[in-house]
Symmetry: C2
Subunit: 369 residues, 2 copies
């Protein structure tokens, strides 16, 4: 095993795959990165924590083929600290170690035997689709923050990917709030697809999708595979049923306001400085030309904010958890957003100014609860 | 108590004093900031954790005088999140609370009675000196990282400020390494001054000294007071004896090298990536035209680096803790530094290229220890 590779290219490849390196020590080899030198193809990097696997090919000059597994943390740190110059690497496959030379630096790093590293699962494609990577990243970013952290309900820790003839839908909920994003387009499918992607997979995809280009998605029974920018990410799917989101999304409202997103965010954050010292519940009152945001009366004091709005419909009052509203106001990028209300016992809906493709629900806190 | 103040000015004042707010809950009032509105003078802010006290006057329009203490964390967060506009504040001194109005925001913050807040100690000046604030900050920055964290030897957790007829000296040591900085100048004093400043005081001074201008230093028996940029910082002194630093600074050497500081830093950091997995001991070998830095042989592998140098004197080998060398190479700003060596059992000395005003010693690790 003998190859030459440019430091910056190897570093980039390591950055891509390291998100799938295991952080648990139960199987030490999974805390490593698999390296395989393949003639005419380059250097193949794989990390695999058995939930997510990522592979990437780094352009490299392969003189002799071979493979081994190196401890990810040391390998990453060393490559990152080397100068941006040519690295000459020589594997000693008998002792599972790699000698790395770069200008005046010489490292020997001990690792593991390559054939002990678990292979990525083969995907028997049930359905595949492709779309613009940036669009898919937008969908993910607008819902990923709304998953549950409760491990006793695994389905809610992930996001539902639902594909029907009319579009691609992504939904997350912790039952107290729900984020729904639709990407409308015609899909030619025999039957609707409904799978649950782990929350970690959503987060890693959001980190990794940077470049322009397409993303290909291959869905099988137990796994989903994403291909973009030369990166392949394979993720286990979460088993179980996802709540019926269509049932909870209101189809009409009694009041609609338009409000400056950034001003509302700042006002809610300020009220939350006081409200969060207690239960973080805020009262929202929608009046003719004003939205008022109030904390309760606490041992620390109280806070009141008001903002100008346009109201269509009746005046309203609703109590909600401030953090759920802050989350969505931070994630959206539109200057103006719509808020729809039905009454104090019904969910509050946040939408973009001119589109119903994004729907975010916040369940009310019952007065006196 | 009634006053108007510009948000950005109040925020700056809070930033200055908040370093002295107590983080412990043993005396709740010390987790607050004392505010006093004084006609024709402005708004007086004080924080005091009984080790360090900081006071600052904020320009404000005082309509009615009065004083109270507000919880620092909530007060700081609220003022920071308000828009940069005029704040109208009204104190309710019977209930120890302040009503804060700014544009469409209204906060009421409950606090404590002003006269329960401990006053800053009066300083009976034994000696005072003044110098350029930037010079004093440089002195602090070049030694503050080298204090001990061992609370059983309080004197070593601080820095010795030693003033004699020839200059001002600042010294820190944890007994395994020592940082010494001299600021040469003629001082007219009756007897030499020798006091120990707490490590926290050195850190806060380094953070607070930003602007051009002078710093005045007033030293009494138990306290030291610093005045700069309108800020007054009073610190308790540490009692006890400080090691005789003059005794350990070598007055000659057998070998002197000059080396590129940044290249040496990068090389030592890389070797430390492997060495730190063990005891972080590195071997330094100084040869005719080369300095070699080597890790030991560990379960993870090994690392070797070399750099070109100019050597005056004999070849040398010394074992040291890599982190002590990394610390000083990070702090210095000179392109080229000098390293002086005597032998494997004597300290290694790091100096600036052309000056002996800064001396940094690293004690050797005995071979086989």
């Amino acid at each position: 095993m003998l190859f030459n590779v440019i430091q910056s290219k190897l570093q980039q490849g390591i950055q891509f795959v390291q998100k799938a390196v295991s952080v648990r020590n139960t199987m030490p080899i999974l805390t490593g990165i698999y390296l395989e030198a393949v003639k005419d193809k380059g250097l193949h990097l794989i990390a695999n924590d058995l939930e997510i696997g990522i592979e990437y090919w780094v352009e490299a000059d392969i003189i002799n083929e071979g493979a081994l597994v190196l401890p990810a943390s040391q390998f990453t740190n060393i490559i990152r600290e080397l100068p941006d110059a040519e690295i000459k690497a020589e594997g000693d496959l008998e002792h599972f170690q790699l000698k790395i030379n770069c200008l005046n630096s010489e490292f020997t790093l001990k690792g593991y035997q390559a054939d002990e590293f678990p292979q990525l699962p083969a995907i028997k494609t049930v359905y595949n689709l492709n779309l613009t990577a940036a669009d898919f990243k937008d969908m993910i970013d607008e819902v990923k923050f709304s998953t549950s952290t409760d491990q006793t309900q695994p389905a809610l820790t992930g996001g539902l990917l639902y594909i029907d003839a009319e579009g691609i839908n992504l939904v997350t909920t912790n039952t107290y709030r729900l984020a729904y994003r639709k990407f409308p387009r015609e899909n030619i499918i025999e039957e609707n697809i409904s799978v649950i992607l782990p929350g970690k997979t959503l987060n890693e995809l959001s980190h990794l999708i940077q470049e322009e280009g397409e993303i290909e998605i291959f869905i099988s029974e137990n796994y989903v595979l994403f291909k973009f920018s030369g990166i392949t990410l394979i993720s286990r799917l979460i088993e179980g049923g996802f709540p019926n989101y269509r049932q909870v999304i209101p189809d009409q409202c009694n009041s609609e306001i338009k409000v400056d997103r950034n001003e509302l965010l700042k006002a809610v954050k300020r009220v939350s400085l006081i409200a969060s010292l207690d239960s973080n519940v805020i009262s929202i009152m929608v009046k003719e030309d004003q939205i008022q945001i109030n904390s309760g009366e606490s041992d620390y004091g109280n806070a009141h904010e008001s903002l100008e709005i346009e109201l269509k419909g009746s005046e309203q009052k609703i109590d909600i958890d401030a953090s759920y509203l802050i989350d969505v106001l931070r994630v959206l990028s539109q200057d103006i957003i719509r808020i729809e209300l039905i009454g104090p016992l019904y969910p509050m809906t946040v939408k973009k100014e001119d589109s119903d493709d994004y729907i975010y629900l916040i369940m009310p806190i019952r007065p006196g609860a």
